[in-house]
């Protein structure tokens, strides 16, 4: 398994190499010609999001495809490959921006003849891809991007699905966690990347806080540029306001830099960090993150995934392959692949037959399927958007071992706006219909 790890790592660390692999595949065969189920896998293989997001995701895709092709998964996914067909993954780099990704998507569909596409960490990329998926009538699963606008902007989507949760859930869940564990907190601050992801996350967080933590006030907010890398001025500005909680929706290299720098500058001695995407670096923080820092996994993923047979199996093969526990992007990639497999095998086609995009979409819409994160209900976005619960907990590192303490979970209907209701309206109205355990 060591060889496996090193070989795959080599091609993951270079986006160029990954693209070359895809180009080679394009020249050889189409799905119909070689009898394989060809899946485009898109995630960051270069740039600051590669380390914490793209590489774990691609690693998860690699190990899961390998195991699926051997028929090694537990039931109900023990059928070889997808619907009996060997899976061929075409992995490409998400780096380069939305325009480039649209071009790459067209390449995947029109030149490489993929049967489905799974991908996208960036919300901008998701928003750009969604109309193209409809135009090209290609079954596509967004596995990680979190913008609530994905289906708000594409209400008639037929081919686009998302098996992860949106950012509103992250932030409503974060506030519910504070209300459950620190109801007396009074001083909140935030630092967000200055684009829609950061702004929307902060808007949802502060709105939910004003509803659920009425005694709390926002004492400081900072919006540095994405990929800024240095946050000294922002950390000092936060420090002098002496917040109790510092919320951040930072992700990737920005998040890791923020934690390192805020820790070095003492901010995280005074205040508790609350990182909605924090679990992505669970395996690499070690003692560089303070004990007690609150982290989320954007759903019941990574360290927060349930102790079920599928997840136990997945964690085992992932750890064997890479000597690391799967963080949430890996779990979410696995979930998207299982969602695709579920749709293909419940599309009403014969064994070893590739369903059409329409058949895949019909099977996926409104479905309930089992996953490494438990049961997934495609219960929002007119049946295109997953609804699940979310868990937050505290990072602890002692004697060389990282762990989660004080985890608290919230049901999907506790943190997800009802169908057709915008998160902002739901929060402003006081979460009508919320069902919290």
């Amino acid at each position: 398994m060591k060889n496996n790890k090193s070989k795959f790592s080599k091609y993951l660390v270079s986006g160029v190499a990954a693209l070359a692999l895809a180009a080679g595949a394009a020249g050889s065969a189409s799905a119909a010609e070689n009898g394989k189920f060809r899946v485009g896998i898109v995630t960051f293989l270069s740039g600051p999001a590669a380390g914490p997001f793209g590489v774990p995701s691609a690693n998860a895709a690699k190990v899961l495809v390998d195991e699926l092709n051997k028929g090694n998964l537990p039931a109900p996914y023990d059928k070889v490959g997808i619907n009996g067909l060997e899976i061929e993954a075409v992995v490409i780099d998400e780096a380069g921006g939305a325009t480039k990704q649209v071009e790459e998507y067209r390449n995947l569909v029109q030149r490489q003849n993929v049967d489905a596409v799974i991908g996208y960490v960036s919300s901008g990329d998701c928003l750009a891809i969604a109309p193209v998926a409809e135009e090209l009538k290609t079954f596509t699963i967004a596995y990680d991007c979190g913008t609530p606008r994905l289906f708000a902007d594409n209400p008639d989507a037929q081919y686009m699905f998302r098996t992860g949760l949106d950012a509103s859930v992250d932030n409503i869940g974060a506030v519910r966690y504070l209300a459950a564990t620190r109801p007396d907190v009074t001083r909140l601050a935030g630092i967000q990347q200055n684009y829609s992801w950061g702004q929307d996350s902060w808007a949802d967080f502060t709105a939910a806080a004003s509803a659920l933590l009425p005694e709390a006030e926002v004492v400081e907010e900072q919006f540095p540029k994405i990929y800024q890398g240095q946050y000294g001025a922002e950390i000092s500005a936060l420090s002098v306001k002496r917040p109790e909680i510092v919320h951040s929706s930072f992700w990737g290299g920005d998040m890791e830099a923020l934690v390192l720098q805020a820790n070095a500058r003492g901010l995280l001695e005074d205040a508790t960090g609350l990182l909605t995407c924090g679990e992505a670096s669970f395996a690499t923080y070690k003692d560089q993150a303070p004990n007690g820092m609150i982290i989320g996994a954007r759903g019941p993923f990574g360290q927060f995934a349930p102790d079920n047979e599928l997840n136990t199996w997945f964690e085992g093969v992932y750890q064997n392959a890479y000597d690391l526990e799967p963080v949430y992007p890996a779990t979410k990639m696995a979930q998207a692949i299982l969602g695709l497999k579920y749709a293909a095998e419940n599309a009403g086609v014969a064994d070893k037959e590739i369903p059409s995009a329409e058949q895949l979409a019909a099977a996926m819409k409104g479905a309930t399927f089992e996953s490494v994160s438990g049961t997934v209900e495609m219960a929002r976005g007119n049946g295109h958007q997953a609804m699940q619960g979310i868990t937050y907990g505290e990072y602890h590192y002692e004697d060389g071992v990282a762990s989660i303490k004080n985890a608290v979970s919230f049901d999907g209907e506790c943190v997800t706006p009802p169908e057709g209701v915008a998160a902002a309206d739901w929060i402003a109205d006081g979460f009508p219909g919320a069902k919290c355990n």
């Binding site: 001083r187 890398g229 240095q230 946050y231 000294g232 001025a233 000092s236 420090s239 002098v240 306001k241 002496r242 109790e244 830099a257 390192l260 720098q261 820790n263 070095a264 500058r265 003492g266 901010l267 995280l268 001695e269 005074d270």
Partner: protein, 445 residues
């Protein structure tokens, strides 16, 4: 040739030169060089701290505080932050103003110092502050406390980053006001060292009590010399005066000696002894042994057990990990001085523009170990004095910081904003010095 003509004078020259050489060697032995090398430094800071005598603890702890600050800045650099590379040179002025000025001048000439820092004695600080003003070197005071330095003698190049005598006495006055409501005390006496700091402290206390409208009778003000070995006559005088409350500005070994000598009499049976600026220092806590003398009212510019914030606990632990002992307040002051300089350089974008550095320091906010939750210290642009909260309390058993068996507890907390001298007060005091007003008791020499 001159030497042959005047052989006696020549001998004197040789002897003087030999002494100077020894003195230079001795000074060299006391000199600390910390942080970046001369080649790699973005800025050199020349600091003056006592390394010998009764106040050596303050110098020793200040050097450790500086080391912690440099370690923190190094950790920040490793984490990816663009922090300045600082070189700190520290030397011992031996509590002598003229010698301190010479060392400070050497910092400029020989070491290319851009900043001065430190200085325990307010008298020495006055002399170095004048040099800083003339030479246009920014001085960041980390320990001395005479409010005269920032109010009457304040200038563009002088800043101070620990509580001054005004802040401490403003907190003390509030404590005494509240105590009076409880006990009805009336008779107040003061005992302080007979130099600038002592006299200014007494002036500050009277002004602060007057501002609060506290009515009291002054039954004595006594002025032992600095490093006085025998306080018995002063203790006798205070007992004879039948003071209800004695406020003192004695500090360090002097304060410890005073307490020890007072404890051998019936002083504490009849009198409350308050020291609002330096009394709760850790060296005092250690010296008290296991005796929480009744009537002691203490505070200091930093406490190891207050506030109970992560940042304070971290600083105290860093100090303990580094030295194996717990810090006096001087350590946190020196730490603050270096961090303040680093942040000012960051804010100013370098060290080439004095005006930009001064502007950066004016109003600079810092989250410090001594800041309670919800507050961060800042430098008042008007006086260049850091604005900080203060906690005053009494002595309680607490063995969390061994070998001390006592610490201060029963805290009364005073908000930083309440402890700032009013603009009117600053103006009156500055005008008084300029001869424009008689409204303020004149600061004594």
């Amino acid at each position: 040739m001159e030497m042959f003509k005047r052989p006696v004078s020549g001998c004197i020259t040789i002897i003087a030169a030999t002494f100077a050489l020894f003195a230079a060697h001795a000074a060299q032995a006391e000199r600390f060089e910390l942080g970046a090398s001369a080649q790699n430094a973005d800025a050199v800071i020349g600091c003056l701290y006592p390394m010998t005598g009764r106040s050596a603890t303050y110098g020793r702890d200040s050097i450790s505080g500086i080391k912690i600050a440099l370690q923190d800045l190094e950790a920040e650099a490793k984490s990816g932050l663009d922090v300045p590379n600082l070189r700190v040179i520290a030397d011992d002025p031996r509590s002598k103003a003229s010698y301190a000025v010479r060392l400070a001048q050497d910092f400029i000439t020989n070491d290319n110092a851009k900043f001065f820092c430190g200085i325990v004695s307010s008298g020495v600080a006055h002399a170095v502050s004048d040099l800083a003003k003339n030479e246009k070197i920014i001085m960041v005071g980390t320990d001395h406390a005479s409010s005269r330095l920032s109010i009457e003698a304040g200038h563009d190049y002088y800043f101070r980053v620990t509580n001054d005598s005004w802040t401490s006495m403003a907190a003390g006055a509030r404590y005494l006001r509240d105590l009076q409501k409880e006990t009805g005390w009336k008779r107040l006496a003061f005992v302080g060292p007979d130099y600038d700091y002592g006299h200014v402290s007494w002036t500050d206390l009277q002004l602060a009590l007057d501002e609060l409208g506290v009515e009291y009778e002054t039954v004595g003000d006594l002025w032992p010399k600095l490093y006085e070995p025998d306080y018995s006559i002063y203790i006798n005088a205070l007992q004879s005066a039948k003071a209800d409350v004695v406020v003192t500005a004695l500090w360090g070994g002097d304060f410890i000696a005073f307490i020890k000598q007072a404890a051998s009499t019936r002083f504490f049976e009849t009198t409350r002894l308050a020291n609002f600026d330096t009394g709760a220092n850790y060296d005092v806590m250690m010296a008290l042994g296991d005796q929480p003398y009744p009537g002691l009212i203490l505070s200091a510019r930093h406490h190891n057990n207050w506030p109970e914030t992560g940042r304070n606990k971290r600083f105290v632990k860093q100090f303990h990990d580094m030295t194996g002992r717990y810090p006096t307040y001087a350590a946190e002051g020196a730490y603050t001085g270096i961090i303040a300089i680093a942040r000012a350089i960051e804010k100013a974008g370098g060290v080439d523009d004095d005006r930009a550095l001064i502007t950066a320091l004016e109003g600079l906010q810092l989250a410090l170990p001594e800041d309670p939750p919800g507050f961060a210290s800042y430098i008042d642009p008007e006086t260049h004095q850091i604005v900080q909260a203060q906690a005053v309390g009494t002595v309680v058993h607490n063995e969390d910081f061994p070998p001390s068996k006592l610490m201060v507890g029963n805290w009364a907390i005073y908000d930083a904003e309440d402890l700032k001298p009013s603009k009117e007060m600053v103006k009156r005091r500055r005008d008084a010095v300029a001869g424009g007003s008689e409204a303020v008791p004149p600061p004594t020499p």
